[in-house]
């Protein structure tokens, strides 16, 4: 809860700012948010990541199990999130919007990565035909960002608790 509150306070402190980075910490857990634009109602972010050294030695089974819980928790992004691929060698679980959002210009999806080492991160991508995928800003309300921070924190706690 501390991490979430600190994060929301920092967002308030950065209202009106563009292209800035917010970093808050709670012990070994560090929440980093790359902001493109911070408005009073919503924030356009290019990445939100919770980094911690506590996940240095977890195994892939724990990450997989935690990714399932994370996908169930993060049900407020308007796109359901599901685990897509697991890289046992690199010890990474990849989750994405399933299905991705489509419009005339291309496809958009959230991608969450849960890594041993470790981190939980969220980015949004756009894929247009004939080009590589591009990271695009995800516009989320302060409330949603607060929930994401809390859910990332809960995921780390779940992995360590298992």
């Amino acid at each position: 809860m501390k991490l979430r509150n600190d994060f929301l306070q920092e967002l308030q402190a950065n209202l009106g700012q563009t292209n800035c980075k917010v970093v808050v910490a709670d012990g070994p857990r560090i929440l980093k948010c790359q902001i493109q634009q911070c408005d009073p109602l919503a924030v356009a972010i290019t990445q939100l990541a919770l980094e911690t050294s506590e996940l240095a030695s977890v195994d892939i089974a724990k990450l997989q199990s935690a990714s399932q819980s994370l996908c169930q928790r993060v049900n407020y992004l308007l796109e359901p999130i599901s685990p897509i691929e697991t890289d046992a060698d690199g010890c990474v679980v990849q989750m994405r919007s399933s299905p991705p959002q489509k419009n005339d210009t291309g496809r958009f999806y959230y991608e969450l990565l849960l890594r041993r080492g470790g981190s939980v991160s969220l980015c949004r991508y756009e894929k247009q035909a004939g080009t590589s995928r591009q990271r695009v800003p995800a516009t989320l309300t302060h409330e949603v960002l607060g929930r994401l921070a809390e859910d990332f924190n809960a995921t780390v706690a779940e992995i360590l608790g298992n």
Binding site: E85, A88, G90, S98, P100, R107, S132
Partner: protein, 369 residues
């Protein structure tokens, strides 16, 4: 004697083949329409062929110069009848389908004509020989099914003449056991150009069943074409996510893993398979790889090293087909383009959907290698 039925049958077959040729693009892109029938033939549903026939009118419904009208009165048009009722039907038309069997050889010929595929020039010196049975000799023993009728009766006639038992007025010839002659075979060594097709498919979590269906359809047509070009065509299958393994055909098409994508793992297994089982000098080796191109970032360089050192020098063609996943087409094909822009045995093709299969096959097989 020439029977009319044979001519009719031949004409019927021509019509059927014509229908298949007309709709070949549809059959190529919708692989589910084609069912296997044994090893050498497939069954293809074609729309019911209407046989021309007389249509009779109603008896006693009048004819020229009959009816109630006066001379010079215009005839009504269809639909003018004020008492008519009913509109267009809501049921679909009765477009019955009839399944016809076509040999794979014939299908390959149609494919070749449709896509204007050049015939393949095999590499190597055809130094593999296969024993082939040829019926070119006669023996005294054998199964009755191989009995040589003419020779047997000639022997019997000779014997009857030489023993004075043949009566020209009553010319019965009855062969006995020692008269019987049977066809027999010899094994003839025949030079053979052998080919192996290695299919590699990404079965990671991002490859859905739709993408696999595209791969299955495309592989069927590639197999059909290559089998028509080579006598001894072998097929091997490799699947991979972050790990790769060689599997059988059923597993190849029906496995879905959730692992990450490491294309280099498949290249490693492929290179090992070639080095252990298919000497490069004796075999025409074809690799067809299908993936959504979502390779995990750090793996590309490792994959390129294997491709450059082990696979491209060993294969006639290395074809990479990138099928589009729900998340779009990945970046691997672009990385390949940048890395191997001048390599003419590496063929790249993007397959956005089923309709893309047609062009992809032409891209892959249009080189005649």
């Amino acid at each position: 004697m020439f029977l009319n039925i044979e001519r009719d049958q031949r004409r019927f077959k021509q019509i059927v083949r014509g229908r298949i040729r007309e709709n070949l693009r549809k059959y190529i892109t919708h692989g589910e329409m084609i069912g296997r029938r044994g090893k050498d033939a497939v069954s293809i549903p074609v729309p019911q062929l209407d046989i021309p026939r007389f249509r009779f009118g109603k008896n006693g419904s009048g004819g020229v110069g009959q009816g109630e009208g006066e001379v010079g009165q215009p005839i009504g048009k269809p639909g003018d009848d004020p008492g008519g009722s009913g509109g267009a039907g809501s049921e679909p038309g009765s477009g019955h389908l009839m399944e016809v069997e076509v040999t794979l050889e014939e299908l390959a010929k149609m494919l070749g004509n449709e896509l204007e595929l050049p015939r393949i020039e095999p590499k190597g010196t055809a130094n593999i020989t296969a024993e082939k049975a040829k019926y070119n000799s006669i023996r005294q023993t054998g199964p009755e099914s191989l009995r040589h009728f003419k020779r047997t009766y000639l022997n019997a006639l000779r014997r009857q003449i030489s023993t004075n038992t043949y009566q020209p007025d009553d010319p019965y010839i009855v062969p006995i056991k020692s008269d019987k002659q049977y066809r027999s075979w010899n094994d003839v060594p025949k030079p053979q150009v052998n080919a192996v097709v290695i299919y590699v498919m990404d079965v990671s979590g991002s490859m859905t069943d739709d993408q696999k269906e595209i791969v299955r359809t495309e592989a069927f047509w590639i197999d059909t074409w290559l089998a028509s070009q080579y006598q001894g065509l072998e097929t091997r299958y490799i699947i991979h996510d972050a790990m790769a393994k060689e599997v059988d055909e059923h597993t190849f098409y029906h496995t879905r893993e959730s692992g990450g994508t490491r294309i280099s793992s498949a290249y490693k297994v492929c290179a090992k398979l070639i080095s252990e089982s298919f000497p490069v000098d004796d075999w025409n080796i074809y690799c067809f790889q299908f993936s959504d191109g979502d390779n995990w970032g750090d793996d590309n360089q490792q994959a390129f090293d294997l491709l450059s050192e082990k696979l491209l020098p060993a294969t006639n063609l290395f074809c990479y087909g990138q099928v589009e996943s729900p998340y779009g087409s990945g970046d691997f094909i672009e990385a390949l383009r940048k890395q191997y822009s001048e390599h003419d045995t590496l063929i790249l093709s993007e397959i956005p959907d089923k309709e893309g299969i047609y062009d992809s096959i032409r891209t892959f097989l249009g080189k005649g290698k």
